[in-house]
Symmetry: C2
Subunit: 666 residues, 2 copies
């Protein structure tokens, strides 16, 4: 039988490969002086954001850790802090390499498409392998430490729940804050720079231009890193808890081994892509081969582990069902965000203007929720039939086992996007831009599929943790015929709506601050418009950062306060009502998240479709209408939508950790 040791080996291997790829990226030429200057400015801006973000966040981490320390246990408080630190690290490293891979990808695109793909994908893989490496090492170390040294004092499952909650806590801040930041900076730069001052996009005279570029990195890269780190750790947590109920320590070992071998499979996939990436390779084909290789290898490993570790072939099918559901959601998402629906939206932009653009995008987004929910529902039933409650957790793990390669593909997107921007700004030849455009377009599709995996796994993980919650507070049934449960479910259903409302409003509030600052600089800095003086980039960055971090507190507070408030409000029936709350939030949150992600992506892509010359192309009435759709979709798909996954999981983790202690107080 396999041992825990091999998991450490795979975790470390993941970090070593990431380090190795990181060094390869750094050693590449970063291009001419202009390219270096732009790249540096973005790097500094990103650091400025991180410093501010960590300052704000650390206060809340300390407060929350203190509460855990006194109510639950100092050990849990420490594991919580560890979870937050590793989450921060995942986001930071991902962003650090992304801001360095951008320019180098543009430079490599001067040689060939294959070279550019290699650099961009290596950059993405650093993130993919760091997140999975840190995720698994942190989780298994916490668990084993608690098992060997603390098990007389506290249940190791509680300690590892603290670790996972730390990851969720930071992820929510990072997603909401990063999401507000990136969209506010985007709007601020466009509204004053492009429209009022009439200077082109990405013009260095625009004080918000760096904030805008930084925004792409902190939202799409750092935010996504923290988000998927959280998903990964959360799915492992649900597996460890339910696995230990079902199979004792073998169940736990099984979960870690699946994750470990999944990393190995991902590394094999990543290396396959890099081996193929040469000359005029078809990048879509290269990424597909890598993904297929990783998944086939992973499936073989999972079969082997199911047979050899817990001698239960049912668990294999549970994992497989998760993988299939994840792929299905990915393809459905791809259809709604890049298939026929975006042509319908583009057509309505050309026929009826902004209002019909919005309506048809809404209709597409609303409809796109249906099949994913059917697949998740079927996945839940299949997983349960093959491996009980543990099966539901395993299905979630199945989706995320090959996160290493999936996230690499996902993180490669923003790098290719920025590379295109840098190529444009620094006046590289047309062919370079063409190559980065090919890479960028591919990135949009992979991003949509990645969001499908994130949402699907969030639903399964939340369901598995929800069952763990019921076990932890001794609820044998969460009965919808009970008025307390129904009342909880109604309130829970409304929370994602309230949360989304706050985060959408936060984007517009922060955007307004940014607009004012950019206007001020244009008026007050002499010679700025003539290019004789530099704008104060840092001030824009700081203002946007502060605005984002201030405005993110209210929505984030919902996730933490709601479970406690509900529990105490219903008192004797608090744990039942809270069960209802978690289910209600899950159903309504998953639906809103898919709706927002897909409506947003379909508006974005229908705008791109028009920009390719359809329905009049750039500058046409149809294009203007599609820009409205894109602007509406931005905060939905990049701020409110992706945060809902974390909201759901953070609420269930908070309940799982605290409520068993609070129940005793009643």
């Amino acid at each position: 039988m396999e041992s825990f040791g091999i998991v450490f080996v795979f975790g470390l291997l993941s970090l070593i490969v990431a380090l190795f790829l990181g060094i390869i990226v750094i050693k590449k030429s970063s291009g001419n002086e202009v390219m270096v200057k732009i790249s540096r400015a973005i790097q500094h801006g990103a650091s400025a954001f991180l410093i501010e973000e960590y300052k704000t966040m650390s206060i809340w981490v300390i407060i929350f850790a203190a509460i855990i320390w006194f109510i639950i246990s100092p050990y849990v408080a420490i594991s919580f802090v560890l979870g937050t630190i590793l989450s921060v690290l995942s986001g930071y490293l991902g962003m650090a390499i992304a801001t360095r891979a951008n320019g180098r990808t543009a430079q490599a695109a001067r040689t060939s498409l294959g070279e550019a793909l290699k650099v961009a994908f290596s950059g993405g893989s650093v993130m993919g392998l760091t997140v999975t490496g840190l995720g698994i090492l942190g989780s298994i170390s916490t668990y084993l430490f608690a098992l060997h040294f603390l098990s007389k004092t506290i249940n190791p499952l509680i300690v590892i729940t603290g670790y996972s909650m730390g990851a969720s806590f930071v992820a929510l801040f990072a997603r909401v804050g990063g999401g507000i930041y990136t969209k506010a900076a985007d709007v601020g730069a466009d509204l004053v720079g492009k429209i009022e001052a009439g200077i082109p996009e990405d013009d260095p005279r625009n004080p918000a231009v760096i904030a805008d570029n930084v925004g792409d990195d902190v939202g799409d890269t750092a935010g996504m890193g923290a988000d998927l780190y959280e998903s990964y750790v959360g799915s492992i947590l649900s597996g460890v808890i339910l696995g230990s109920f079902a199979f004792g320590i073998s169940g736990v070992k099984f979960v870690y081994l699946i994750a470990g071998y999944g990393i190995l499979a991902s590394i094999i996939g990543v290396l396959s892509v890099l081996l193929i990436a040469h000359g005029n390779v078809n990048p879509q084909k290269a990424l597909n081969i890598g993904t297929v290789v990783a998944n086939v290898v992973a499936v073989l490993f999972m079969w082997y582990l199911s047979v050899s570790v817990i001698h239960n072939i049912g668990t294999f099918f549970a994992i497989l069902s998760g993988l299939v559901v994840g792929l299905a959601i990915g393809f459905i998402t791809q259809y709604y965000t890049s298939g026929n629906p975006i042509k319908i939206i583009a057509k309505s932009s050309s026929e009826g203007g902004a209002a019909t653009t919005i309506l048809s995008g809404m209709a597409v987004g609303l409809q796109s929720t249906f099949l994913p929910l059917i697949f998740i529902a079927v996945g839940v039933v299949v997983a349960y039939l093959t491996a009980g409650l543990f099966g539901i957790a395993l299905a979630g793990i199945g989706m995320l086992a090959t996160l290493g390669i999936n996230l690499s593909v996902d993180a490669y997107g923003p790098i290719a996007d920025n590379a295109g921007g840098i190529a444009e700004m620094s006046g590289l030849p047309e062919e370079v831009r063409e190559r980065t455009d090919i890479l960028d377009a591919l990135g949009n599709t992979t991003a949509a599929m990645g969001k499908g995996f994130a949402i699907g796994s969030a639903a399964l993980t939340a369901l598995a943790l929800f069952s763990s919650y019921a076990k932890a507070v001794n609820l044998s049934s969460i009965n919808m015929l009970s008025p307390y449960v129904v009342a909880g479910a109604l309130i829970g259903g409304a929370l994602p709506y309230l949360f989304s409302s706050f985060s959408i409003m936060a984007v517009s509030d922060t955007a307004n601050l940014m607009v004012e600052e950019v206007r001020r600089q244009f008026h007050e800095i002499p010679g700025l418009m003539l290019g004789k003086a530099d704008p104060d980039y840092k001030r824009c960055v700081a203002i946007s950062t502060k605005g984002a971090l201030k405005n993110m507190i209210l929505p984030s507070a919902i996730a933490v306060i709601a479970p406690f408030a509900t529990f105490f409000a219903f008192w004797k029936y608090g744990k039942n009502a809270l069960g209802g709350l978690l289910v209600g939030a899950l159903i309504s949150g998953v639906l809103l998240a898919i709706y927002m992600a897909n409506a947003g992506a379909s508006w974005d892509n229908s705008k791109k479709f028009i920009e390719q010359g359809n329905f009049g192309g750039k500058g046409s009435e149809a294009h203007r209408a599609s820009v409205v759709g894109d602007t509406v979709g931005d905060p939905l798909k990049d701020t409110a939508g992706p945060s809902l996954n974390i909201l759901i999981k953070l609420m269930v983790t908070v309940s799982l950790l605290f409520i068993p202690y609070l129940v005793k107080l009643l």
Copy 2:
């Protein structure tokens, strides 16, 4: 102890007062020749719509009745058909009087505000009192007939469930079809007439102008009549079922008596308004006094009935809790759709254009769901604590007991609205328009409150029927820890999204057909633009009608097919999964319905706020942006949103009626 007989008396009284008020309205002067001509054209258009609508609908009614006849019982099939006929009658009568009260209100406004209020409110009251009168008489006759003559063959509760399903069936068609019709005609008339041909709104040369005006009546009046008839009958049904479980025949009698005395209270309220309506009365004050009088009287009746009929004061508090929740939702709706939020939306129209208008309206709509859901949740718990499951049904009845006056106030809105249009078109003096504007503005507020009552009562009625479903199929628990229930809930949650997607798309598809027809007439009818030839109004009406009725089938089919499909797909666990489906649909449907209704109303009112001269007034950039918001909001608030209430209730009624029979087949 009171007897059933008095309920018949109050039901008949309701119809007699309605008839009396109808005669008063008809006897009023219908104004000058132009006004009569316009009014006639609208009446004819409305008839054309009704004929087409009933033709299409009758096929489905016959098919469904045949299925019921063979699977369940011929008696249930007959009561189903009775339910559909009375529903059609409610909608028809409401529309008939509304299309006659419009012009007469405009004419009365030449005398005084009080006279105009009297005519408009009398018109609304005909609808309010007809719906409640027909609703209660049909329900109690069906129940008593089944009790006395059929009880050896079939449970009377099943017969009355068929009656209620008939009401829901027609209501769904009427709401969806009417909603598609009105919005498609609106867009068609505006897009070609106002924008392309450059002729003013409501110009008789526009072939779609009659369809547009008819649309207001068929959507806002006939649709609403069928909708609230369904709500009323459904809430009584849930009360009768749970009342008979809790208190036997006394429980049933209690429910009918509450409804009957509620009608009496409503009549007293209606007469109070008409007594006050003189000279320069403040119309807001007059309506408020009527509503307060009706509600105070109703509360006293309910207290008396609780004490004297079932000797249980708890039931009184359950009813009262429903009434309080309804009022609370009404006031919250009023705040979000006419308070500070609409100024925020208007501000964002002026600062950022269409995109920020949409985003801020979305944020307002999303946020506006939270407090209503909290109130519903608290209402459920209070009702349960005071009177058990029966209490939840009673809370729903509490909200609708004074439907007579509430619907009168509600239906008065569109009459006042159309009166303003007729005053404008026929060139009546400025002061007349000012008076109708005052009445119209008040109508918007009352409509928002009415929607709050409709949604709140739908949630409570659906919950009560949902409990009845569980009893009928012997489910003691609908346990969210069961994977089948969770899977059902996930699918159920997605149904309102799918349904909304179809109905929003239906609006744009039908609008496109209308646009083509209007363009064709402008091109092909010689002399039309010069006013020398009449356009073919009927053709526009017929095309819009056909389009609406064709496109409404797909969304409506969801409500009927989904329960069966889920039941059979999950086979042995079908009844559990279906339980989950109903809960999931309830949570997600109520939220979406409130979101859509309030976002739509707040966009509409923020446009009106700008038109009052704020942020640049009519013709400004802000106004153009607000028009986009209003156009987006229209199908949300008038097509998709209001249909969701019916969707939820129709699904639960279908399940309640059919599944107990299907369970026996397994």
